[in-house]
């Protein structure tokens, strides 16, 4: 290939303590593509998401993570964020006393590497996106994720993504814990950003999200390895038949 892929995992091996969780993952995303990553509980999906962002608890024992041909290994999470990598967390943590407004401004300034100017102008842009995500105004003054419902947390993750405009977005089970209306709003938020400049990796347990955010490719992770890759038509097959047919295909190895 002439040009480097937008994002690539090469034979990625990851350990948490003594336990090997990812056992050689290969994945290539071209610029502007949306890939779905599915798999049963415990297959390593969330580990993958966290490792892409540089979580300190995980040790990369082999392989590489390449963003635009550059290795992310050895870069701190904040450096990855500034390059344009974004992770929408499955369980966003609360930071009591830090208002959402203050946090958003700090995050946008940190990622862009420059001041957003006065709070007034900045918040105007934020409010517009909030309206789209059906988030009420009062949200801005609340403590970050402090006492938020599951749905509120996920909406805030997507709000951040809309404001930070990443080049690579990783959604870690953004659909979990959402009712059908919240799911629709969140998906519309993501779709708002989709286009040739956004490469997306959508990690999910359920097909329902993939009906709203349609992927170009689908991969199944089992036991720390990609055991199946296919086109969007595979979504329907997974919905109807679950993972058993894949387990049969890959045999005992996927266990």
């Amino acid at each position: 290939m002439s040009a480097a892929a937008e994002f690539e995992l090469r034979n990625l091996r990851v350990r948490n303590g003594t336990k090997e969780i990812l056992r050689g993952v290969d994945l290539t995303l071209q610029r502007g593509e949306t890939h779905a990553l599915m798999g049963p509980n415990g297959s390593g999906k969330s580990t993958l998401a966290n490792v892409i962002m540089g979580h300190p608890d995980y040790e990369v024992t082999g392989g590489d993570i390449l963003f635009r041909g550059r290795s992310l290994l050895g870069l701190a999470p904040e450096e990855r964020a500034r390059l344009g990598v974004f992770l929408a967390f499955q369980y966003p943590v609360a930071v009591p006393g830090v208002s959402v407004a203050r946090f958003l401004k700090a995050a946008v300034e940190a990622v862009r590497g420059k001041s957003t100017g006065g709070a007034g102008g900045f918040l105007k842009g934020v409010r517009e996106q909030m309206k789209f995500l059906e988030i009420t105004e009062a949200f801005l003054d609340r403590g970050l994720n402090e006492g938020f419902s599951g749905g509120e947390k996920k909406r805030l993750e997507i709000l951040q993504m809309l404001l930070l405009k990443p080049a690579l977005g990783v959604l870690d089970e953004t659909d979990s814990g959402l009712d059908i209306d919240a799911l629709r709003i969140v998906a519309e938020g993501v779709n708002r950003l989709r286009g040739p400049d956004l490469t997306l990796l959508v990690i999910t347990h359920y097909e329902r999200l993939l009906k709203l955010i349609e992927p170009d490719h689908l991969h199944v992770l089992m036991n720390g390895r990609i055991v199946f890759s296919g086109g969007p038509e595979a979504v329907k097959k997974l919905e109807e038949h679950g993972y058993d047919w894949i387990r049969e295909q890959v045999g005992a190895e996927a266990g």
Partner: protein
């Protein structure tokens, strides 16, 4: 992780208030005895009653022992090795005639002493070593009957008021350091708000220790007549020196019926170097007396400096329905030791108090909250709410909480909440994934942790306090 590292010696270089002013000073001989006490009194042209008051305090002090019940380790202090009086030789008359070196010093410290061009919303009393060198905005205040001047001047010019109130909240016999201060205090601020007057600007005192081996013993007295209001701000810094210096101050607040006093402090004394060498011993007695019904005293402190802090700003709630508040952030790093908290003494019916304490320890520091809520038999329907939170940064620091509640009235309601936490990896990772580096992420978490206290500070002051806290954190993390 990187934040396991002990404190950073860079902090020493970056304590930007650590410079020394080269100024001719007049100092008394080293050591403490009756002659020195008399000399101080004579130097200030005090009346006989004041000299006698000092001597009585000195004699009482001789009978006391230095207290060591606080969680702070330090060798016994040699009181004969210190100087008890040091003043810039050229005493200024008006701010316009101030010694240029002194003016420059306060300019460097960011303290506006110009009548014009300074901050319009502030009046400042500047105390340099043992004397007050400038008090601004006095004429403006005088029009409303407000007296704001140095303690020395108050003793000379407003003797009746001083005599009536001095020592009425913190008597000279109160404790070892109070007795010492009463004997040798050299200056401080005096403030009197007449009945029904709402002081239109923030009053503030800025304390600067400059001279070597000199103790600073200042004394502040604020009297709020019925239905008056005043917001008072105190700031302090000192040069970075290898030797410890003693700062033993007293602050007395008197709030009469319906009066309200809001007292805010940002304490940034030199804290010593990374190994704990040098720094100020900050041994301070601060107490307010809600003497009248519906009176209200609130203490807000942001303690980020001093090698050792021993300080318990308290409120005696005597007037019915009076209110006492204590909001505190204490940040310790490197080898700093802080033992701080409050006492709320409920005497009157339906008196209410609120305590919010946020302790943050980093490096190898020790941070202790010590509090007493005492409800006496007459305090029917009294209420207290206490919240003490401690945050640990790294694994070599310590946090302790000693909250004591003594209730002798069954109708009183007291509530106590306490937490101890570490900055979690998950919080850091979350914020870092949004582009904030470890220092900025830690600062944001700590800022959130302290928010309840910081919002009590006057606006402009809060901005400064947050900047200072962030600067200190930056050097204690990563």
């Amino acid at each position: 992780m990187a934040h396991e590292l002990p404190g950073d010696s860079k902090l020493l270089q970056d304590y930007r208030f650590g410079f020394v002013t080269d100024i001719a000073a007049e100092a008394f001989p080293k050591g403490l005895n009756e002659v020195v006490v008399r000399l101080i009194s004579a130097k200030k042209g005090e009346p006989g009653w004041m000299t006698d008051w000092r001597l009585a305090a000195y004699r009482h002090w001789l009978t006391l022992r230095e207290p060591h019940w606080a969680r702070a380790d330090y060798p016994p202090i040699d009181y004969q090795a210190s100087y008890y009086y040091s003043a810039p030789r050229q005493r200024p008359g008006k701010p316009g005639e101030m010694d240029p070196e002194l003016a420059k010093t306060f300019e460097k410290l960011g303290v506006p002493l110009h009548e014009r061009g300074g901050l319009a919303g502030f009046a400042v009393d500047a105390v340099f070593d043992s004397v007050s060198v400038s008090t601004t905005q006095r004429e403006r205040l005088k029009k409303q009957g407000i007296i704001f001047c140095s303690m020395s001047e108050a003793i000379r010019e407003h003797g009746d008021l001083v005599r009536q109130y001095l020592g009425s909240v913190v008597p000279p016999t109160d404790n070892f350091f109070a007795a010492l201060n009463s004997a040798v205090f050299t200056d401080g601020s005096f403030c009197y708000i007449p009945r029904g007057v709402r002081c239109p600007i923030e009053l503030s005192t800025y304390f600067r220790i400059n001279a070597l081996r000199t103790g600073q013993f200042e004394r502040t007295l604020i009297i709020a007549e019925p239905e008056s209001f005043v917001s008072y701000i105190e700031g302090c810094t000192a040069p970075a020196r290898d030797e410890n210096q003693l700062h033993a101050a007293i602050v007395e607040l008197v709030a009469l019926e319906g009066a309200r006093i809001k007292y805010s402090t940002v304490q940034n004394w030199f804290a010593g170097d990374a190994e704990g060498k040098g720094g100020i011993y900050n041994f301070v007695t601060k107490r307010g007396h809600c003497r009248g019904a519906r009176s209200h005293i609130s203490w807000t402190q942001v303690e980020v400096g001093a090698a050792i802090t021993w300080k318990y700003p308290s409120v005696i709630l005597e007037g019915a329905d009076s209110v006492g508040e204590f909001y505190s952030v204490a940040f310790t790093h490197d080898r700093m030791q802080a033992d701080t908290g409050t006492k709320m003494i409920h005497l009157g019916p339906r008196t209410r108090s609120t305590i919010v304490s946020k302790g943050i320890s980093a490096g190898r520091s020790a941070n202790t909250y010590r509090g007493l809520v005492k409800i006496l038999p007459a305090a029917t329907g009294a209420r207290n709410h206490t919240r003490c939170d401690s945050m640990l940064i790294g694994s070599q620091c310590s946090a302790n909480t000693f909250p004591v509640i003594e209730s002798r009235n069954a109708t009183a309601i007291t509530e106590h909440e306490a937490t101890t936490s570490r900055i979690s990896e998950e919080q850091l990772f979350y914020l870092r994934s949004r582009g904030l580096d470890e220092e900025a992420a830690t600062a944001l978490i700590v800022h959130g942790f302290c928010k309840e206290v910081l919002k009590e500070l006057p606006m402009e002051f809060a901005v400064e306090a947050v900047k200072l806290l962030e600067l200190k954190l930056e050097h204690s993390v990563g």
